[in-house]
């Protein structure tokens, strides 16, 4: 197990290097000229050339990539073409906002989605099951930016109970909670609905298995059968879905941040793309990628814990 974890961490580092290559190459191949952007709109051709040499953009691709990678290994994501500030310092003040939103949305999704899935499964083919299944279909079908806009229209404009945007407190504080409530709800709704669906179908699968019949046959109460015996195996597909969902939440946050005017890494990325700030795009994409690779590692390790039948070398 320890060896497996070590191996996975090595793979993770290799993947980050692969990632950095893809991101670097795609921005290198992009048609715009970073030197022109960095030099500003009124720069002369000569000034642009000086800027190009200063940024090292006149060097061959591999030289540029190796120096980019070396900087990365020193924790340096590069310098913003527009503000001339280190990208890491611009991102680090925005990361807490995005994580705050994504984690709050994940908690919302788990607390709402998983229990509803179990309730639907144990009430199979009843009115409760039908209602929950249909509701979850609607939950999945609502785009998060649209849900966000509708929530603002209803809660903020009509009722005036939540702020329409902005976020500067963590969700466990009172102000933070009121700030994060609507964004987390609009971001987490799809995940919640997919937890309900996956949870229901996997729970139904498990409830039909032989060992559950054995558990029932030996006289266990239904509660014990469902919560102790069945739930553990039913969780496997949900854990898969949680890993997938977290990526969805991080990228969905890019959209939600736009709707609720939240100053997170998503807003930073959209700004960077609109300003053709290539170094900032590279840095932000790599950061989100690194966060997501770490989550994937955790999900794979959780597999071993909750289902020993899945073996790793």
């Amino acid at each position: 197990m320890g060896k497996y974890i070590l191996k996975r961490i090595c793979i993770m580092i290799l993947m980050l290097i692969g990632m950095s290559f893809i991101v670097f190459a795609s921005m290198y191949l992009a048609p715009g000229d970073p030197a022109e952007i960095a030099a500003g709109p009124s720069a002369t051709a000569e000034e642009i050339e000086i800027m190009r040499a200063y940024l090292g953009l006149d060097k061959p691709f591999w030289t540029q990539y190796i120096s980019y990678l070396t900087n990365l290994l020193h924790g340096n994501l590069g310098t913003s073409l527009i503000t001339r500030q280190p990208i890491w310092s611009e991102l680090s003040i925005r990361i807490p906002n995005t994580l705050n939103l994504a984690v709050a949305a994940m908690i919302f999704a788990c607390v709402l989605g998983i229990p509803l899935g179990i309730i639907a499964a144990i009430n199979k083919d009843t009115a409760v099951d039908n209602a929950l299944t249909t509701l979850s279909l609607f939950g999945i079908s609502v785009p998060n930016f649209w849900l966000g806009s509708i929530l603002i229209l209803f809660f903020c404009v009509k009722l005036g109970v939540f702020p329409t945007g902005g976020m500067d407190h963590y969700f466990w504080t009172a102000i933070g909670f009121s700030q994060v409530f609507l964004p987390a709800m609009s971001l987490g709704m799809q995940s919640a609905a997919s937890f309900t669906r996956i949870g229901r179908s996997s729970m139904l699968d498990v409830l039909q298995s032989d060992y559950v019949r054995t558990a029932r046959a030996k006289g266990l109460r239904e509660k014990a059968v469902v919560l102790i015996h069945a739930l553990k195996n039913a969780l496997i597909p949900i854990v898969t879905q949680m890993g997938t969902s977290f990526g969805g939440l991080l990228s969905g946050a890019i959209v939600t941040e736009q709707v609720f005017a939240i100053n997170g890494i998503g807003s930073y990325l959209i700004n960077a793309i609109n300003q053709r700030n290539y170094t900032a795009v590279q840095g932000t994409v790599l950061l989100i990628a690194a966060m997501f690779i770490s989550i994937n590692l955790i999900v794979d390790l959780l597999y071993c814990v909750i289902d020993p039948r899945i073996k790793y070398e």
Binding site: S141, V157, T240
Partner: protein, 290 residues
């Protein structure tokens, strides 16, 4: 049982369900409406009329602000909302269908190979992880930043973004299936890998594939709407549901219907496809039947 009768009986069973029939009819009507859009509206979706900006539709009949013929009102540039809804639906549905098909095909193949062959597992899943590390919008943003904003680039981005999630979940299912005893039994009877994969693993993973595909056709239609909302999908002024919501943002308080109407179109379409897929799963998945 041959393939044709299998599918025909599936569709017949599907239409026995009332809810599924309703959804089927809605989808068919919607397809007729968007494909035959010129027959159902006399307005050009891009015809600007500065004099007739932000006129409400049938719900404001009594106020006298409603323009003759524009039953869903006009948008911030005086364009007919009903007509933009129809032409916008063309784009949304086409992009959704095409990218879902490409995504599920590639994803299923990768997922089955990775789950079944340990040798391929690492290579395929790390490749998927690399695609996966650009979750959702992120991959689209990179592709758009590289290639520029266009409908084709958005379709490519959405197809690729479906692949890793299909592959990962199908692999998860295949990992479970191949540990099951009946696979060992079939193998001991002398079945080869290709036979086991195509006959038994694929068949047993089918419910999973359908559940995910169900979510993904919804996802694909929503993805194009999301990209357009961010200004990176279908370029303006071409009508598209997400783009309509995006351009209505500024007029949210004065004209909330500009946000509500296209959003309802997205939700209805996606819900119908979801319900159809859901009922289809009940029919195709003997494991969930008593």
């Amino acid at each position: 049982m041959n393939q044709e009768s299998f599918f025909r009986s599936s569709v017949r069973k599907l239409l026995k369900n009332k809810l599924a029939t309703v959804c089927f009819i809605i989808v068919v009507i919607e397809l007729i409406l968007v494909i035959g859009a010129p027959l159902f509206t006399s307005f050009d979706p891009n015809e600007v009329s500065v004099m007739n900006r932000l006129r409400p539709g049938f719900w404001a009949e009594s106020t006298g602000k409603v323009l003759e013929g524009h039953w869903l009102g006009t948008d911030e540039m005086g364009r007919d909302v009903w007509s933009r809804l129809l032409y916008g639906g063309r784009v949304s549905l086409a992009v959704g269908f095409i990218s879902m098909t490409i995504g599920i095909t590639i994803g299923t193949v990768f997922g089955m190979l990775a789950g079944f062959y340990k040798r391929l597992d690492n290579i395929i899943m790390r490749l998927m992880d690399i695609l996966f590390t650009f979750p959702g919008v992120l991959l689209a943003l990179l592709i758009v930043a590289m290639l520029g904003v266009s409908t084709v680039n958005a379709t490519i981005a959405i197809s690729l973004w479906s692949v890793p999630s299909f592959a990962r979940m199908i692999r998860g299912r295949v990992l479970q299936i191949k540990e099951e005893e009946y696979i060992l039994a079939i193998r001991s009877l002398g079945a080869g890998d290709i036979w086991i994969l195509s006959r038994h693993v694929l068949k047993n993973a089918l419910p999973t594939i359908i559940v995910i595909a169900t979510m993904r056709i919804a996802g694909s239609i929503m993805s194009i709407a999301t990209l357009s909302y961010l200004g990176l999908g279908v370029p303006a002024p071409t009508a598209e549901w997400g783009g309509m919501i995006s351009s209505a943002k500024t007029f949210m308080y004065a004209a909330p219907y500009l946000i509500i109407i296209p959003g309802i179109a997205v939700v209805i379409t996606v819900v119908c496809f979801n319900i159809l897929g859901d009922k289809l799963r009940d029919i195709l998945d003997p494991g969930l039947k008593d």
